[in-house]
């Protein structure tokens, strides 16, 4: 039983990583007042370009870097559309997802088209700092990026948001851009920056899948994880640390679901119930938070001076 739980936790951390990265990215976007539905596409493109560059250059880290940069670029594109031009945020985001998906698959086809097995690369190796203690090893044998996500990105994202002037600007720009503007904050620049950071993190989440978890790129590599991340942002009340708990709950239920199947349990309910659970939990969390859910007040509203 203990083993089962330790295994489960180890898997949960791994499964949560890409979603966590994306959710923090989305948190930044939404905190600045922009709902970025481009998340799914940005992750997909990150997964592709990371793989592509790593494959062609032989350097995983170069691939990862380029992936993050690509996310930044799509974040900036989202900013151009929604911040500068004031285009409807839903549609811009969906458009970017379409664009990213199309571009990735187009380029994938031209470069790797029609192979019967997916092209693969030597992926990132897992770290095993406690090789000699079996149970601890099960927990801690993780990819570097998982460590980075949980131990660096989460605290850093929290610190940046709540303890720095930049974070103060992001929060104020998402709450009341008029006020921020009048206080001398460059609303446009801050939103651009938040979307860029957000995009980078989303793409990092995608690249984790292709460069670490799989070492390959295929269609369906993201499989809706971006939409899950959006749910988690709200579940986490736009707070990176709480988003982490949301990501863990999601990762935990997915991992548990697979393990229960493995145990050959014939459940009286369809196993889809487990898959739907994180979504339902998020909705319930929202209901409980009710009108107290601290939506960034300026979410979805373009800001214009005149």
């Amino acid at each position: 039983m203990e083993i089962f739980i330790i295994n489960l936790i180890g898997a949960t951390l791994r499964v949560s990583t890409p979603i966590l990265l994306a959710a923090i990215g989305e948190t930044y976007a939404e905190r600045a007042g922009i709902l970025n539905l481009g998340i799914e596409g940005t992750m997909f493109f990150g997964a592709f370009i990371g793989f592509f560059v790593a494959d062609k250059s032989g350097s995983l880290w170069l691939g990862f870097l380029v992936a993050v940069l690509s996310g930044v670029v799509f974040g900036l594109l989202m900013a151009l559309l929604t911040v500068t031009l004031g285009v409807n945020q839903h549609v811009s985001g969906l458009g970017i997802t379409m664009l990213c998906t199309g571009l990735s698959l187009f380029a994938f086809r031209l470069n790797y088209g029609g192979r019967s097995i997916p092209p693969s690369i030597e992926s990132f190796q897992q770290l095993a700092p406690f090789k000699n203690i079996p149970w601890l090893n099960t927990l801690t044998e993780q990819y570097l990026l998982t460590y980075v996500a949980f131990l660096v990105i989460v605290p850093l994202a929290w610190w940046l948001l709540y303890r720095t002037s930049f974070g103060l600007k992001i929060r104020s720009v998402g709450e009341n851009p008029e006020a921020a503007d009048a206080a001398g904050v460059n609303v446009f620049a801050v939103r651009y920056a938040a979307l860029a950071i957000g995009g980078g993190l989303m793409a990092a989440g995608g690249a984790f899948l292709s460069l670490a978890q799989l070492g390959a790129f295929t269609h369906g590599i993201i499989a809706g994880r971006g939409w899950v991340a959006i749910a988690i942002v709200i579940f986490g009340n736009w707070n990176p640390v709480r988003a982490m708990w949301g990501a863990l709950i999601f990762g935990g239920t997915s991992a548990l679901q697979l393990r229960l199947q493995t145990m050959g349990l014939q459940l009286p309910i369809p196993y889809e119930t487990f898959l739907a659970l994180p979504y339902i939990v998020t909705i319930i969390a929202l209901v409980l938070a009710g009108r107290n859910a601290s939506y960034p007040a300026a979410l979805l509203k373009p800001y214009r001076r005149e």
């Binding site: 720095t164 503007d181 001398g184 904050v185």
Partner: protein, 498 residues
């Protein structure tokens, strides 16, 4: 020496010229009023100075040096601070965070240090505020203090206040003026926008008057009387309305409020056992310092707030539990406290005029556009609304918006009229117009409940005056017996009279 020089400023919005070659000069250490009717271009000029708008042409000099002000950041760098009409604060953030926003010392924000620094600044300028509290928990007057402190914290040498007193109660106005005088003594310059001429004559040194975007002139305040200033603004001299005194004792009670209790948005009791009667042909004024339950009272009587208990009767019919539409149908005419809350800005004047009575223009669900349009044209003409039927309401000036609201309500000859703050933010001309309309309604026989924080307005219009304090009616006086002093005592909660 001029600390600010704005020369030849022109600003157009589409076809509209909001500022037409305006010159504006501000001396060091003066309080300078900017005066003009609604839509005269005051706010526009100030937004240009603060970098929120870019002028089409014109030069700005600060301390005699030409400067480029592209954004509030530039303005702040040039020592200019602005408190806008609608507060520019971030409600979920603390006072300290709001104040340092955009002006933090370094990248890392040390909370304790930040709060200490803000507290020190508040001390220095004599502004009482707790840096730790969240802005969303503050009252309007306190929020304004945060705004002023925010500007001062950034070493503003020029402080722009756009209609700062519109939202303040008399005591708060006094406190504000005290602060302004102290700042003036420190050598700061203040630009003060207000529609209240007595305030202008009381506190300012000079006055610049705009009309239709054009500069009319700049004068020394001490040389001018209120009516002279008014004449400069609109080009005519006589102002004010006169109330025909009549005896209302014989009239039946139209609106009866019994033991009304209601809660505020935070769920705290805001009204306790309010009992009021308004007779036909009577204006009952509700005086009181803002935030004592006026908002809740008005909303309860408009049907948009659920009452905890009590009764509201119109000509004997109970209204409690009715929807806003039910209130209207029963014959209650009402305007909202914030006119923007009564209008859908993106709908046209015509549509807004019809909005409250759609059923009458509807046959089996289908709208009679022609009838709506005809009616709108009539009302626009009758109420002298300066707008075309198809203009989106958001493009109207405050005064005209108010006229649309009044037209919508008064054209139906309601039995009772609820008017919270009917002239807030309106220029003298528009104010007179609105007051005149209310008096006409009274003479027609309507029961009017006037809720206002402006004592002058209460005294000018009311037949009887009730004073509200902490959600209770602490006294009701006939107009003849009411003096500002007596009302002031009641409003401060020091005494109760029944």
């Amino acid at each position: 020496m001029y600390i600010v020089d704005m020369l030849g400023i022109t600003k157009t919005f589409g076809e509209l010229v909001a500022n037409d070659n305006v010159d504006f000069q501000l001396r060091k250490g003066e309080i300078h009023a900017l005066l003009g009717e609604n839509g005269a271009g005051k706010t526009t000029l100030m937004r240009i100075l603060y970098g929120l708008y870019r002028p089409d042409t014109g030069i700005i000099k600060v301390a005699e040096q030409p400067v480029e002000i592209h954004s509030p950041k530039d303005a702040i760098a040039n020592g200019i601070g602005m408190v806008t009409q609608h507060f520019a604060l971030v409600p979920p953030l603390s006072v300290a965070e709001n104040i340092v926003l955009g002006n933090t010392d370094g990248f890392v924000v040390n909370r304790a240090a930040m709060e200490a620094k803000v507290a020190a600044a508040a001390d220095r300028f004599g502004i009482v505020i707790d840096p730790k509290s969240l802005v969303r928990h503050l009252a309007v007057g306190q929020r304004q203090r945060v705004e002023i402190l925010k500007a001062l914290y950034r070493n503003a040498r020029v402080l722009i206040l756009d209609e700062p007193t519109a939202v303040l109660v008399p005591q708060e106005v006094d406190a504000l003026f005290e602060t302004l005088n102290r700042l003036k003594a420190d050598g700061l310059s203040v630009i003060f926008i207000s529609h209240k001429l007595h305030e202008v004559t009381q506190i300012t040194d000079r006055v610049t008057v705009l009309r239709d975007g054009k500069l009319i002139g700049t004068v020394d305040t001490k040389d001018m009387s209120q009516s002279q200033l008014a004449a400069m603004m609109v080009g005519r001299e006589t102002f004010g309305v006169t109330r025909k005194d009549e005896q209302h004792e014989q009239q039946p009670v139209t609106l009866r409020i019994d033991n009304l209790c209601a809660k505020n948005d935070q769920g705290m009791p805001a009204l306790t056992n309010v009992c009021l009667e308004v007779k036909a042909g009577e204006i009952l004024g509700i005086a009181g310092v803002g935030g004592n339950g006026q908002k809740e009272l008005a909303e309860s009587l408009c049907g948009v707030r659920d009452c905890a208990s009590g009764s509201i009767q119109l000509a004997g019919k109970e209204l409690i539990g009715k929807t806003p539409a039910g209130f209207t149908q029963a014959g209650v005419g009402r305007i909202p406290e914030d006119r923007h809350e009564g209008m859908v800005g993106d709908l046209t004047v015509t549509e807004n005029l019809a909005l409250e009575h759609l059923n009458e223009y509807t046959r089996s669900g289908v709208l009679d556009h022609k009838a709506i349009r005809t009616r709108a044209e009539e009302l626009i003409h009758q109420f002298q609304i300066k707008a075309r039927p198809n203009d989106p309401v958001r493009t109207l000036s405050g005064g005209n918006m108010q006229k649309v609201l009044l037209a919508r309500v008064l054209s139906r000859n309601p039995k009772a009229v609820i008017v919270p703050q009917p002239t807030r933010g309106l220029d003298v001309g528009a104010t007179d117009y609105v007051r005149q309309q209310l008096l006409e309604q009274r003479d027609r026989g309507a029961a009017i409940l006037l809720i206002s924080e402006d004592l002058d307005e209460i005294l000018a219009l009311s037949d009887r005056i009730a004073v509200i304090y902490e959600g209770e009616i602490v006294g009701i006086l006939p107009a003849g017996e009411a003096t500002p002093e007596r009302l002031g005592l009641l409003m401060s909660g020091a005494v109760k009279e029944h």
